[in-house]
Point group: C2
Chain length 156, copies 2
DNA sequence: ATTATTTAATTAATATGTTAATTATTCACA
DNA sequence: TGTGAATAATTAACATATTAATTAAATAAT
């Protein structure tokens, strides 16, 4: 059946792997009333204290238009706050509230544990080759636009 | 900066790789008024002629509730048609129309070409190790539910 | 200094993802 | 043979993705 070629294409394998891996994490997030994207934002803010909207979009891989809504909902839950830059009124900084920071000690250990189990179940060599493969594909496709609304200066 | 650990986690690397790879394909799809998901459905129907809704969800990795809308819109564009099974009135089969089939010769060569370029730019060994890594991760996470609304009988 | 350009965040419109519930059939079995 | 459980597709409600357009502020060039 020639359909196997399609199912084993790089994009479909990437989607399959995500479908295999993510449900167990989303289950944890949902226990704390968080979505996957909300988790990603908090995960970054727990380490960086104060991050610009642009950086946040870039690091979390959440497209800017989506991130607006994600932060809106995190704000309404009083987990993060926006703060406009004083030096450049266009920029917005985001930081976790006390309530947002308190979530870390409850959620993160659960996630770390599941992630450790996952990694432990994969041969170290296979894991490293997987990462090397990602790096090569990403490097090859380079400055092809990421979805964070950055300009593409390569193919104009 | 400890943020690198997060950015190099398996899920984030999967998302990064998709962000690097997919835009060039979506650009082609959009030229023909297709979304990525519509492409996937057609890609399957061009080879299989007549596929059940359930199989379609499973092969395209489109969650059943999303697939309903995808097929609705493909139907309105007269590219596919639904057909209820006579033997089991619950089941729905989907097939491409003449118009839908005629798209193949125009779209698919463009996609095949870009895909070949992508694959050619990656070392064969790296590519194979990447696929092997996917297989191992997927096998490890096994019957953990895929998002096609199938029942999970492992952790009840 | 003024205007054109660029940048940062946002809005808008539409499509899809996620999770739970629903409806219509079919199946198993008392 | 009728009734409850299981299955297939769908709907519902909400969140996010995609693409293009918009708004506000800062910069560059005149």
């Amino acid at each position: 059946m020639a359909m196997q070629m399609f199912s084993r294409s790089l994009p479909m394998m990437l989607y399959s792997t995500l479908d295999a891996v993510m449900p167990r994490f989303r289950k944890i997030f949902n226990e704390f009333g968080l979505t996957e994207q909300q988790w990603r934002v908090l995960r970054v803010l727990w380490e960086a204290e104060n991050v610009s909207f642009h950086e946040l979009a870039s690091i979390t891989l959440i497209p800017a238009p989506s991130l607006v809504g994600v932060i809106d909902r995190l704000s309404q839950s009083a987990l993060v706050e926006r703060r406009r830059s004083e030096t450049d009124r266009r920029k917005v900084f985001v930081h976790a509230t006390k309530k947002g920071n308190e979530l870390e000690s409850r959620v993160r250990p659960r996630v770390v544990r599941v992630y450790a189990e996952l990694q432990a179940s994969i041969d170290t060599e296979v894991w490293e080759q997987l990462m090397a493969g990602f790096d090569q594909v990403i490097a090859t496709c380079q400055p092809a636009e990421s979805n964070t609304n950055q300009k593409n200066t390569t193919d104009i």
